[in-house]
């Protein structure tokens, strides 16, 4: 029997699910290998059956409202394996860049007025903050290669495997000129690879969209750039774009 798979989204840009939809050469293979229970971006069909239980659930997006929190908990109950898809689901996404800073409600009200009542919102948090997550596939958005590598692994009950090395490795594979050497604050050394060093390939610094790499030495990165023309708040800001919810761990050099 084909495994039952669901694709869901919370707060995000739909980029991760769209990456799957945009993997034209493999899309039909991917969808044929499973029984899609729900993929609202692509289909209006919802197959309940089996009490709504699913073998494999991919969730894109971060959690920003109590309603989403409830839905997420409900999904967790219905899924055997839950995979956080993309940087929003894994780390909270760009919308989590102010994690740990006060004044969420002020910020919220600056955007939505008092009449607004449909959602009860809070600072964006990764899925992990509410439910146990079995695996993470980061990326803003995920890279098709990384998804297509891990998807069949998950179907075989093998764990997700991510590159354990930073963007610099892939950057050198492509023979790019190093931007950090030109004193441009490239986050490549602190960021997990998997994107094939997209940004340095175009002579633009990595902004860290795949989240922190285990074993990255952010302290040295920061120290190095402080010796150049940069200031701490500038660097802190850059790191927060995508490492937001993990900022403490990253700074501690975890």
């Amino acid at each position: 029997m084909k495994p039952k798979v669901g694709f869901f989204e919370f707060t995000g840009c739909a980029g991760d699910l769209l990456t799957i939809v945009h993997s034209e050469d493999y899309l039909l293979d991917v969808l044929k290998a499973v029984e899609v229970v729900s993929f609202r971006l692509a289909s209006s069909q919802i197959r309940k059956g089996n009490n709504g239980l699913m073998d494999l659930v991919f969730i894109e997006g971060s959690i920003t409202t109590t309603e989403q929190e409830e839905k997420l908990k409900e999904l967790r109950k219905r899924s055997k394996i839950l995979v956080a898809l993309g940087t929003c689901a894994t780390f909270g996404g760009v919308q989590a860049m102010y994690t740990g800073k006060p004044n969420f409600s002020k910020r919220f009200r600056s955007v939505y007025n008092k009449n607004f009542k449909i959602v009860e919102a809070f600072e964006s948090k990764p899925l992990e903050a509410f439910v146990p997550v079995d695996y993470f596939i980061p990326g803003c958005p995920i890279s098709p290669q990384l998804f297509l590598f891990n998807f069949p692994r998950l179907l075989k009950n093998l764990p997700v495997e991510l590159p354990a090395y930073p963007v610099c490795v892939e950057c050198k594979w492509q023979e790019n000129e190093c931007l950090l050497l030109k004193d441009i604050p490239c986050l490549g050394p602190a960021t997990r690879a998997g994107c094939l060093a997209r940004c340095p390939k175009d002579n633009l610094p990595c902004v860290g969209c795949f989240g922190p790499v285990p074993g990255g030495n952010f302290a040295s990165w920061e120290k190095h750039l402080l010796e150049k023309k940069y200031h701490e708040p500038q660097l802190d800001k850059k790191m927060r774009f995508f490492f937001g919810a993990k900022i403490k761990e990253v700074k501690r050099g975890k």
């Binding site: 739909a14 069909q45 959690i63 939505y112 958005p141």
Partner: protein, 429 residues
């Protein structure tokens, strides 16, 4: 149909993001129609505060994956205006190219994967593919090409950083440009077939209602997706800045998205608006296709948006061929234009696949102090609800079965191709 009834369609499928339809019937009348957006807020307008221009550009495309290029392009236009950066024409050509790529990607995704299954009675394109492999094949090819163009020019299918303020991090080489040109040439017949395919579909008439149309006025006499003036079907022309203040964004309790009115009237943006306002400017195959398809229903019925998108795909492919030829004449790749300016304010606009998109920023000491982003779907909200109301009136007091009626409502929403992720991020601060 029963009195005092409530009808809900939760999480309309095959749209980007979460949207619910809510209809309340009372005493033989449609009492209330709401298109609700319970999507989680992301507060982009606060995320860009305190950021440098290049950092704003890192962040804002993440509003939406489908039209990330439009966001990037609109932001670049605004930021370059503020920073007084003037890029050489070849940079503009390449930017237009990436934007065309997005039009094809977004429109073909919408036509084949989100809308067409409805018309032919399938839950999704996968199911559709069994019976109509050729048609889905066309869709896949077009979408793949659109993605290819975006990936090649922008660096990634989504959120590629290559298009930057003042130019491109890496200008494409001739081989890449040629392969884009060749791809467009090869796909033109597919695009024309798409218009034929859509022309022969049955369009229901439940939601016919006249509407104001709005789009950007191209700087030339051609059809196009960029401009600094807004064109309104009542005859008004407004600069982008004027228009921004003229439309009032309001927050409704049932929606995380904001919505706008022009002179207290709902208006419609997107391919259908562009076709109605600029269709006469088309040439070549796109012109021919429009001639064959256009009817007066186009100014009343939102379902024709699909067909308008198909014609835009034809137009876009023809434009890609012309634009690549221009780029191929370039001798030396342009380098990035830098700016020292750190203060000012200004708006930039482009026609995103779903309609006019405005980015407005203010900068002080090199950092962003204010942002206002007005997204197509937000502008279409009131129009969507208006059309839903008309349709609900026609449907729920007729012999149409409820399930069918619900599908008709969903089809109207899908015809607009609302991009809900986008619309949740509009805001004034």
């Amino acid at each position: 149909m029963r009195e005092g009834k409530e009808i809900r369609i939760d999480s309309v499928a095959r749209v980007e993001g979460h949207g619910n339809i809510y209809v309340r019937l009372l005493k033989g009348k449609v009492k209330e129609v709401r298109f609700e957006i319970p999507e989680g807020p992301r507060l982009f307008e606060t995320l860009v505060l305190g950021k440098e221009p290049s950092e704003v550009l890192n962040i804002v495309p993440r509003i939406c994956a489908i039209c990330n290029i439009s966001h990037r392009y609109a932001a670049i236009r605004a930021l370059e205006k503020i920073l007084a950066v003037k890029v050489p024409p070849e940079v503009t050509f390449l930017r237009n190219l990436m934007h065309y790529g997005e039009m094809i990607e977004s429109h073909s995704l919408h036509i084949f994967f989100l809308a067409l299954p409805d018309f032919l009675g399938y839950p999704d394109a996968i199911a559709l593919a069994e019976k109509y492999p050729e048609e889905v094949g066309i869709g896949l090819r077009l979408k793949k090409f659109g993605n290819y163009v975006m990936e090649t020019v922008a660096g990634r299918m989504m959120h590629g950083e290559n298009p930057t303020i003042g130019g491109f991090g890496r200008f494409l080489n001739k081989e890449e440009i040629k392969s884009i040109r060749d791809g467009a040439e090869k796909l033109l017949p597919d695009a024309i077939r798409t218009t034929e395919l859509l022309r022969n579909l049955h369009y229901s008439t439940y939601a016919e209602e006249g509407m104001l149309f709005v789009c950007l006025k191209p700087t030339t006499d051609e059809y196009g997706f960029w401009g600094d003036t807004v064109m309104i079907s009542n005859g008004d022309d407004r600069t982008v800045e004027e228009f921004r203040t003229a439309i009032k964004e309001r927050i409704y309790p049932h929606s995380t998205a904001k919505r706008t009115l022009y002179r207290e009237r709902p208006y419609l943006v997107g391919a259908l608006a562009r076709m109605n306002l600029l269709g006469e400017r088309l040439h070549g195959a796109a012109h021919e296709a429009l001639q064959k398809c256009y009817s007066l229903s186009w100014i009343r019925n939102p379902l024709y948006n699909n067909l308008a998108q198909a014609i835009e795909i034809v137009f876009t492919l023809e434009e890609i061929i012309k634009t690549t030829e221009r780029i191929l004449k370039i001798k030396k790749p342009p380098s990035i234009v830098h700016s020292k300016k750190g203060e000012g304010k200004g708006a930039g606009a482009v026609e995103a696949p779903r309609g006019s998109l405005f980015h407005y920023y203010e900068f002080k000491d090199g950092l962003c102090t204010y942002a206002d982003l007005i997204i197509p779907t937000a502008q279409n909200y009131n129009a969507i609800e208006k059309h839903l109301t008309v349709a609900a009136e026609n449907l729920f007091f007729s012999s149409v079965e409820e399930e069918k009626a619900k599908l008709e409502l969903e089809m109207i929403v899908r015809a607009y191709d609302p991009c809900i992720s986008c619309s949740c991020h509009i805001q004034q601060i």
